[in-house]
């Protein structure tokens, strides 16, 4: 099992700070895995940063920024097998990239172009969920359905702290537990639902604590620590595969970008806290960890970063080269017949 350094109450953490806080490690992860995780985070970071630029340039529409959420997405993703399905919210719009979905597909979605409307079966990635929490029951039903068929494959649903207030979260979580569905309920607790702090969302001390009400385990990890996230998700996936049912993971971080390109957080956010969080953001933390391990040097940083930038350059070019959508699509695809 993982060597987890306890941190901030009950929150699991693996990566240290190179000073007072020692580094831990996660059993079973090879050097290749560690670099794979890094590559995934860089790809996501690059996607995100470029998207903000593309938005400013008018090349994509409103965009939900996930800067600082890369550790949660890459870490949890790494615990999945290809047969496992991912149910993303808008915040994980680009998670398909980690399954080989081309950037232009996701960019097309943000461009309001039908090429962004993929077939979930192709990547094992459900459509991007826009309404909060309503995709949680989808993931649960999928996982339960797989189990009923005796087929392999579990599901992971991503949602935010705000989502835990919705009835859909509650009903989904309850079904998951009752049906012992092989599903991971992954809550990205970034402290905010647009302008609403988590303290105005619930009186519960932690979101992971909500799991008990459903008779499932709840785990709390440092969402800025890609290895802690990986380890917690791996354990949850193992439970799911073993027929032990769902797990609620609360990954704790702090949103240090606007909710979306249309949002101006200055009215509500604590600028100093954002400053501090940005200084300790997940990609830098992990990069420093890998450097301390001697696995990463400037050359590799540059080449991995370069690859990601190139992928985005090609992606936006491809997205912009897509033919204008057929206007007749306005009446098609609602029905088979």
């Amino acid at each position: 099992m993982a060597q987890v350094v306890p941190a901030e109450g009950d929150m699991r953490r693996v990566i240290g700070d190179g000073e007072a806080q020692p580094d831990g490690e996660v059993e079973g992860l090879t050097d290749q895995d560690l670099l794979e995780l890094y590559r995934a985070m860089v790809l996501l970071r690059t996607y995100d940063e470029r998207s903000v630029v593309y938005h400013r340039q008018g090349r994509i529409g409103t965009y939900a920024i996930f800067w600082g959420h890369e550790a949660m997405q890459a870490g949890s993703f790494h615990a999945l097998d290809r047969e496992d399905w991912i149910f993303p919210s808008y915040r994980e719009s680009a998670i398909g990239l980690l399954r080989g979905m081309p950037p232009e597909t996701v960019l097309a979605w943000w461009r309001g172009h039908p090429a962004g409307w993929w077939d979930p079966r192709e990547y094992g990635v459900a459509s991007i969920a826009v309404p909060i929490a309503t995709h949680v029951p989808h993931a649960v039903g999928f996982a339960w359905g797989k189990k009923l068929r005796g087929e392999n494959g579990c599901a992971i649903a991503y949602f935010g702290d705000g989502a835990t207030s919705e009835g859909a979260f509650h009903e989904g979580a309850n079904f998951a537990a009752v049906m012992r569905a092989p599903v991971v309920l992954f809550c990205n607790n970034n402290g905010w639902a647009i302008s609403t702090p988590v303290s105005a969302q619930t009186r519960a001390a932690t979101l992971a604590g909500k799991a008990a009400g459903y008779g499932m385990p709840g785990v709390r990890v440092d969402g800025g620590d890609v290895l802690a996230v990986f380890e917690a998700t791996r354990a949850a996936v193992a439970r799911a595969r073993a027929g032990e049912g769902p797990t609620l993971i609360e990954a704790v971080t702090y949103r240090c970008a606007p909710h979306a390109t249309a949002d101006d957080p200055s009215a509500y956010i604590d600028a100093e806290r954002v400053e501090a969080e940005r200084a300790n953001e997940c990609l830098g933390r992990y990069e420093r960890y890998l450097r301390r391990l001697g696995l990463l040097g400037d050359d590799l940083v540059e080449s991995i970063g370069g690859e990601a930038k190139e992928a985005m350059r090609a992606g936006i070019a491809a997205a912009e080269a897509l033919p204008e959508p057929d206007p007749d699509l306005v009446t098609r695809n609602a029905y088979a017949e």
Binding site: H138, W144, G145, L148, A168, G172, F175, A336, E337
Partner: protein, 316 residues
Amino acid sequence: MEAVNDALLVEMERDDNVMVMGEDVGRAGGVFRATAGLLDRFGPDRCVDTPLAEAGILGTAVGLAMAGWRPVCEMQYESFSYPCLDQLICHVGRYRWRTNGKMEFPITIRMPTGGGVKAPELHEDSPETYYVHTPGIKVAIPSTPADAKGLLAAAIRSPDPVVIMEPKVLYRSPREEVPDGEHLVPLGQARIAREGDDVTLIAYGGMVAVAEQAADELEASAEVVDVRTLKPLDEETLLASVAKTGRAVIVQEAPRVAGFGAEIAALLAEKAILDLRGPVLRVTGYDAPFPFWSIEDEHIPSAARVVEAAEKLLSF
């Protein structure tokens, strides 16, 4: 009711991917006994007693469909389907479209509907408009046991999500011949319940019997069209009948304003305008909650109200 049970049985035998889920559908066999015997026959994996959460039922059904199942969801009463409107509008009707038409969501939603059973509040609504107005959703409402079986079977086999609303008065209707074994009534085909020449009475579900009774009572010759499938609507049959009679009375139990009868009236106002020899009249429930049951017969359109409308139209 046996008709519904029979359709489920036949379709579950026919296709291993069909499963039934809902509140009390298993051990109890459903509060109207629509699912009686299915648990014993198909086991708890294919006949599932769910937690008491309608949005959870329909939401997990979306996921079940993604995993290859054809879920048949029961809503215990039509009024308890309202919590699932969110899933219905946001996802059930939209997910095929969201995959550019690539994935199928063959979800069937069954529910009892309508009044006439003297039950407490919120057991006698007629909410078809909410369903019909939602893109991506088909809606059928049988008026005979045979249609209850055939339309449900067609819904289960449909690649699209279909809401089947089963009039409660039908559950209590006298036994009638229902075809054995596989029986399909294709979606999208209205039925001429009775032929006539002078006026067309357009109805669906529990109102078909009311229209037929009105036709009996009328001196003129009334044609009764049973819409059967509200979406897709069989415009042809409706227009042909009105072309013949030149007069239309639409009967709808649901509250009047923006009810489905308005859609039929709009269709006639657009495509039958030259055929019409008088106004298109609607006989409907009122823009008020379905009343406490001691006066429910005042709310539900009666044959007398239909006759009155038809006579007014005939003497227009």
